[in-house]
């Protein structure tokens, strides 16, 4: 059974996911374009982590015993920035500086620029190793806290990931959770067409992980899965089945949605759509 680290409020977390998406749209509209597909598929994962799971304090962002998040798919920085703004790490207006010269919010996550970013990422395939180092450093020094590392399914084509997984299993690291944003797509198309990964759960299990699949857009399922993963006492992975671009019709397209132009009008319409969808979803819960 998952622990009740914090009282779980489905509506509150769904609202957080909606706000994260809205922040992404505002940021991308201000920038004119950006990595929308992979940012949108992350919204529920980040909402659950930052609203319900992580031991963090935005007023003490470098608290040593904090839980860490490593967004290995670093190009989805806008989703993490939107989350951090929502959680009060910096003012929401700062999202409008995305990718502008001198900004603290570059396209890819940068620990030296952005309050609340623990590890810089952007060169795919390196995040699990970095997260493993943080987890190992915590373990060796007796520092509490879990490291949550989010990778894309396409990103798992990079070989270094599998080196890291083998290492985590060998060292029986239980203070790290690997989260896969399994949206089935990569920049150039569908992962199944480019280099199919087949059964990721079986692959993780073969590497010695406790692996589960979860609906990556169901906050309750994600909450249960993340809590179980962090408490299972073994190397753990949560494979989150998602839809690239999920959340608004602007990015829910079969065509290229890895990186899209976003106009202010696009963003306004998408934000209104997200609000409408949230209301409908609330009615289903009630």
């Amino acid at each position: 059974m998952p622990s009740k680290k914090k009282p779980f409020d489905v509506k509150e977390t769904m609202k957080a996911a909606a706000e994260i998406r809205k922040g992404v749209l505002r940021a991308l509209a201000a920038a004119g374009s950006g990595h929308i597909g992979g940012s949108m598929s992350l919204a529920e994962m980040l909402a659950v982590l930052y609203t319900d799971v992580l031991n963090i304090d935005s007023s003490v962002p470098d608290m040593p015993e904090r839980d860490y998040v490593v967004l290995s798919k670093g190009h989805c920085g806008p989703a993490l920035y939107s989350t951090l703004a929502y959680k009060g790490y910096f003012p929401a207006e700062e999202l409008l500086t995305l990718n502008k010269g001198g900004t603290n919010l570059p396209s890819h996550c940068d620990r030296l620029k952005t309050t609340g970013i623990d590890i810089s990422t952007g060169s795919l395939g390196q995040g699990i190793s970095l997260a493993t180092g943080v987890a190992m450093g915590k373990k060796l020094q007796g520092i509490p806290g879990t490291v949550y590392v989010i990778v894309g399914d396409g990103e798992l084509q990079e070989g270094q990931n599998w080196e890291a997984l083998m290492f985590i299993a060998h060292h029986k690291l239980s203070n790290i959770v690997v989260i896969v944003d399994n949206n089935g797509r990569q920049l150039d198309g569908y992962t199944a067409d480019i280099c199919a990964e087949e059964d990721l759960k079986a692959k993780f299990e073969a590497f010695g992980f406790e692996a589960v699949r979860a609906d990556g857009h169901d906050v309750r399922a994600l909450y249960d899965a993340f809590c179980a993963a962090s408490e299972c006492g073994k190397p753990a992975a949560v494979i989150c089945d998602t839809v690239k671009g999920h959340g608004c019709s602007l990015s829910e397209i079969d065509g290229f949605n890895h990186y899209m132009p976003v106009s202010p009008e696009d963003a306004e319409a998408a934000i209104a759509e997200i609000d409408r969808r949230l209301e409908v979803a609330y009615e289903h819960i009630a």
Binding site: D110, S123, S129, G133, G137, L140, E163, A164
Partner: protein, 324 residues
């Protein structure tokens, strides 16, 4: 008293043993130091560290990319990882991991590349780094050290552990010719002048420092007075020493166990071009991959010898005052 020994002879201990001794001493005083290996612990000589500090040494297995990334993550929690591999695997194979996972985000990882250049000897071309210095010089903020012998290991390791940032230590693991007396002072970024001279300056690093000393004797027999500098720190380069050599001698020969592009020769050329152009001749490996053989054979094969330094010194002196 000279900082140099009266007689130069192969050291009684291997470089790797001296290195490991230095690491154990430093780690005794600094509990943050970690040793990270990628399955060549036996070769690079960190084995006794595992006995001394079993909880502070991790052999990752044959996964250099992960080992570097993991080291970077560890350093984010305050530990000081020293990652060891053969030079090619410590740099070329993991260049992006060093660049992005370590240096770009200003983490604190120390990289030790064993078997530089021809010291890889019988491991041959696949294991012979002639380009590691060039690669590492391209990393903003990195510090690069290649000592001539094992004398200064204690100070070097202390310096690496005490100063935050990316270090690359390029070092042979075998017995090397001992040139320094005990107690010689090592200072990062400060070249050591072994001999003064006014006709030409020989600027060398690593195993080529001993060749430079021998070249000085060859030149002296011909009435040429050569200054000899041990440029143990390639980055940050001791520009004052380089420019001083340019001003005082008017001609410079560089000598490195590395490609003539990218390493010490390039660094010296850049420095004099920026501030005080004089003729520079480079001794190094030109447009070649490594090969198999004894170190002695390979030094002759690639002209990494005192004779070649002396030959190029004379060419360089001839060029003085001519159109550069």
């Amino acid at each position: 008293m000279s900082i140099l020994l009266d007689n130069f002879a192969p050291d009684t201990v291997e470089m790797r043993q001296a290195y490991c001794d230095a690491m154990i001493r430093e780690a005794t005083a600094n509990e943050k130091i970690m040793v990270i290996d990628a399955d060549v612990s036996h070769s690079v000589g960190t084995g006794r560290f595992y006995e001394a500090f079993p909880d502070r040494a991790i052999n990752c297995g044959i996964m250099e990319a992960h080992a570097v990334g993991m080291s970077a993550g560890m350093s984010a929690t305050g530990l000081i990882p020293f990652f060891h591999a053969f030079g090619i695997f410590a740099t070329r194979r993991v260049f992006d991991q060093i660049f992005i996972s370590c240096a770009y985000q200003k983490l604190n990882v120390k990289i030790i590349g064993a078997d530089p250049g021809v010291t890889a000897a019988t491991n041959g071309g696949t294991h012979m780094p002639f380009e590691d210095l060039g690669l590492m010089r391209l990393i903003p903020g990195a510090t690069i050290i290649e000592p001539a012998d094992a004398t200064m290991y204690g100070q070097i390791v202390h310096d690496m552990a005490s100063n935050y940032g990316i270090y690359y230590l390029r070092t042979s693991r075998r017995k090397t010719v001992r040139i320094y007396r005990d107690g010689v002072k090592f200072e990062t970024g400060k070249a050591i002048q072994l001999y003064d001279g006014s006709d030409v300056a020989i600027i060398a690093c690593g195993i080529m420092v001993y060749e430079a000393i021998k070249a000085r004797d060859l030149l002296k027999a011909e009435g040429i007075d050569a200054r000899v500098l041990d440029m143990h720190t390639l980055k940050p380069l001791d520009k004052a020493a380089v420019i001083g050599a340019a001003v005082d001698c008017g001609a410079i020969v560089t000598a490195e166990n590395h490609n003539a592009v990218g390493g010490l020769g390039s660094a010296v050329c850049e420095a004099v071009a920026d501030e005080y152009p004089v003729p520079v001749e480079r001794v190094g490996v030109f447009e070649s991959f490594g090969e198999v053989g004894t170190q002695d054979f390979l030094q002759k094969r690639f002209k990494l010898t005192a004779e070649e330094i002396a030959r190029k010194a004379k060419i360089c002196i001839e060029r003085k005052g001519k159109r550069l």
